[in-house]
C-alpha cells in the first residue's frame, strides 16, 4: 500500500509527445485519405458536408452534452456565421476588383475559377479570413445572447428561448436575401468565392475545432463546465463562477457554429434559409444524442454515419420514404442504446488498448524478480 502511494506521488503529469505525434500523424493521414477519396463526385459532395456538420454538431455538443443545457436553435447561429462570412468574402472580392480595375476573368485568375473549379492561393486566404470573421461575429452575438439569457434561465425555458432565437435568425435571413447589396440566397451570390470540394481545407478546420475542444475540455475549464452539468449548486459551492462559464461555453459554441455556417456558404455558394431552419437544429441534436451527449468522437462517428445514410437514402430510397427509414433507424438505435453510441466515453488510444487488451508485460516480470530475490 505504501509503495502504491509513493508511486502515485511520483506520477507527474507530463506532456505525452509520443501521443501528440501519433494523433498528428493520424489526422494528416485522415486528411490525405479524404482528399484522395474525393475523385468520386458523390463523395466530393458528401465529405465536406459531413465535415461541416461535424463542426456544427461538436459545437452543439459542448453546450448540450458538456454544459447540460438544451439548445434548439443552433441552425440560426450557423446562418449568422454563413451570412457574415459571405458578406466579408464578397465585399473583399469586390474591393480588390474595383481598386485594381481587374476584369472578372482576371479576378478568376487570382482567386477562383468557376469553369474548372480551381482555387488559387489568394482564394483560400480570402475564404479562411471570411470564415474566421464570420465565426467571431457569431461569437459576439452568442456572447450577447448568453449574457442576456443564461443568468436567468435554464432547462426547458432556455431551450424555448433558443428555439425563438433560431426562428428570429432564420426569419431575418429570409427577409433580407441581400446584405448591403450582396446576395447569398437561392439566386446565387453576387460574386463567386467558393472553395467547393477542397476537402483538406474543411478537414483542417475540423481538426482545429477538435484540438480546441479537446484541449479546453481537458483543462480546468473543461472540469468546471462538466461540474456545472453534474450539479450546478455544488459547482458554485466549489468556487466555480457558474454564470461566467455558461456564457463562456455558449460563446464558444456560437463561434464554432458560425465557423460551420461560413464553411457551408463557401462550400455551396448559397445559404438556403430552409437549410438552417429548425429541421437542421433538430438534426444536429439527433447527431449528438445518437453519438452520445458529451462524447466528441461519438459525435463525429454518428454525424458521418447519419449524413451518409440520409444522403444515400435521398438518392436510392423510394420517393418520400427516405425520412421514414431515417426515423426508424433512430428509433431502433435509441431503444437499444438510449445513452447514444458512446455515452460520455471517448474513442481514445487508451480505450482501444483496453479493448484489445494491449498491456506492457516487461514491467511485471521485473517486479516478480525483485520479490524472488527478497525470498
Amino acid at each position: 500500500m505504501i509503495a502504491k502511494i509513493e508511486s502515485n506521488r511520483n506520477n507527474h503529469l507530463k506532456p505525452n509527445y509520443k501521443r501528440y505525434l501519433l494523433n498528428g500523424l493520424c489526422s494528416v493521414l485522415i486528411v490525405v485519405v479524404l482528399s484522395l477519396l474525393t475523385n468520386n463526385l458523390s463523395l466530393k459532395i458528401i465529405i465536406p458536408q459531413i465535415i461541416i456538420f461535424s463542426i456544427a454538431a461538436l459545437s452543439l455538443n459542448i453546450v448540450c452534452g458538456c454544459l447540460g443545457e438544451m439548445v434548439l436553435g443552433h441552425g440560426g447561429f450557423m446562418l449568422v456565421g454563413g451570412i457574415v462570412a459571405s458578406y466579408v468574402s464578397q465585399k473583399i472580392y469586390q474591393l480588390v476588383m474595383e481598386k485594381n480595375n481587374f476584369s472578372s476573368s482576371q479576378m478568376r485568375e487570382i482567386f477562383y475559377n468557376i469553369g474548372n473549379g480551381e482555387v488559387h492561393f489568394a482564394g483560400y486566404i480570402l475564404v479562411i479570413f471570411a470564415v474566421i470573421v464570420g465565426a467571431i461575429f457569431t461569437g459576439v452575438i452568442g456572447f450577447l445572447i448568453g449574457v442576456a439569457v443564461l443568468g436567468r434561465m435554464k432547462g426547458d425555458y432556455l431551450a424555448i428561448i433558443t428555439l425563438g432565437i433560431g426562428l428570429v435568425f432564420v426569419s431575418i435571413a429570409n427577409n433580407l436575401q441581400t446584405i448591403d447589396g450582396f446576395k447569398y440566397g437561392v439566386d446565387g451570390p453576387s460574386y463567386y468565392t467558393r472553395i467547393a470540394g477542397n476537402t483538406p481545407i474543411f478537414a483542417s478546420f475540423l481538426i482545429l475545432t477538435l484540438i480546441c475542444f479537446i484541449m479546453i475540455f481537458k483543462s480546468r475549464y473543461g472540469r468546471a463546465i462538466l461540474s456545472i452539468r453534474e450539479d450546478e449548486i455544488a459547482s458554485e459551492a466549489s468556487g466555480i463562477p457558474v454564470k461566467k462559464y455558461k456564457i463562456f461555453t455558449f460563446t464558444l459554441s456560437a463561434i464554432f457554429a458560425g465557423l460551420a455556417g461560413g464553411l457551408y456558404y463557401h462550400f455551396a455558394s448559397y445559404l438556403g434559409t430552409s437549410l438552417f431552419s429548425q429541421d437542421r437544429s433538430i438534426e444536429l441534436l439527433v447527431f449528438i444524442v445518437l453519438g452520445g451527449l458529451g462524447s466528441f468522437t461519438g459525435t463525429l462517428i454518428s454525424t458521418a454515419l447519419l449524413t451518409f445514410v440520409s444522403y444515400k437514402l435521398l438518392l436510392n430510397a423510394p420517393g418520400g420514404y427516405q425520412l421514414l427509414i431515417y426515423g426508424v433507424i433512430l428509433i431502433i438505435v435509441m431503444l437499444i442504446r438510449p445513452e447514444g453510441l458512446f455515452g460520455t466515453k471517448e474513442l481514445t488510444w487508451d480505450f482501444i488498448k483496453k479493448v484489445f487488451k494491449i498491456k506492457k508485460k516487461p514491467k511485471k516480470i521485473v517486479e516478480e524478480e525483485i520479490i524472488h530475490d527478497n525470498k
Partner: protein, 256 residues
Amino acid sequence: MITNDVVLVVKDLSIEFGGLKAVTNFNMEIFRKELVGLIGPNGAGKTTIFNLITGIYQPTSGKIQLDGEDITHVVTHKRVKKGIARTFQNIRLFKQMTVLENVKVAYHNNMTYGIFASIFRTKKYWVEENKAHQKALEILEVLGLLEYKDELAQNLPYGKQRKLEIARALASNPKLLCLDEPAAGMNPHETEELMETIKIIQDKFQVTILLIEHDMKFVMGICDRIYVLNFGELIAKGTPKEIQTNKEVIKAYLGE
C-alpha cells in the same frame, strides 16, 4: 487549541421567507482552528444559517464577516475564493466524474492559466495542473480515498461519498470548512472513523470547522464549542459540558 484570532463573525443575522422568520438575530463568533457544532431540533434553521454563511441565501438583515472583511453581499463562488467551503446534507457530488476530477474541480480558483494556455499546453499549464494533481492526491490520501481515485464518484459506497464531499471542500484551501451533517446515514463504526478523519483534517490542513450534526455522541465528542438553535433563535452556546446540562436545551429537545 482556541486562540483569540476570530475567523468568522455573524452579527444579528435574520432572514425571512415571505413573513416566515427562519432565523432571527443570530450571533456567532468562530475562532481560528476551532471546531464548532451547530445543533437543534429539525427545522430549527441550521441549514438556513449554512446557506447564509456560504451565500446561497441573502440575509434580510445582519452582517457576516470573514477575517474582518464584510462578505454579506459577496456571491457564493467568491466566498469560496475568500475561504469558505462547504459540504451538503444530501450528497451533491459530480457523479459522472472521477474521484480525482471531483477534487480537482474545487482547486479551480487556485489556478490562473488562461484559455490559450490550455489550448497550447504552455509551461504554466503543466506547472499548475501538476500542482493541482499533487494536492488532490494528497487530500485523497488523508481521507483514505486514494485507491478509488479513478472510480466514478457515483460508484463509491455511501460513506466514501461523504468523505469525498469533504475532500472536495478541502481542495479549495478553505479557512472555514462547513460540514452539513457529515455523519448522516452512517453506522456507528463509520461515524467513529469520520470523527478521527475530521480531527486529522483539522490538524493537517489547519482549518476551522463548523458542523451541523444530529448525532449527539459525535457532536459532544468532537466539538470545542456548541451553538444550539430552536425556531431560528439561539438558545444556548458553550462547551459540550455546559450544553449537556443546559435546561433550555433539554427543554427544546425533550419538551416540557
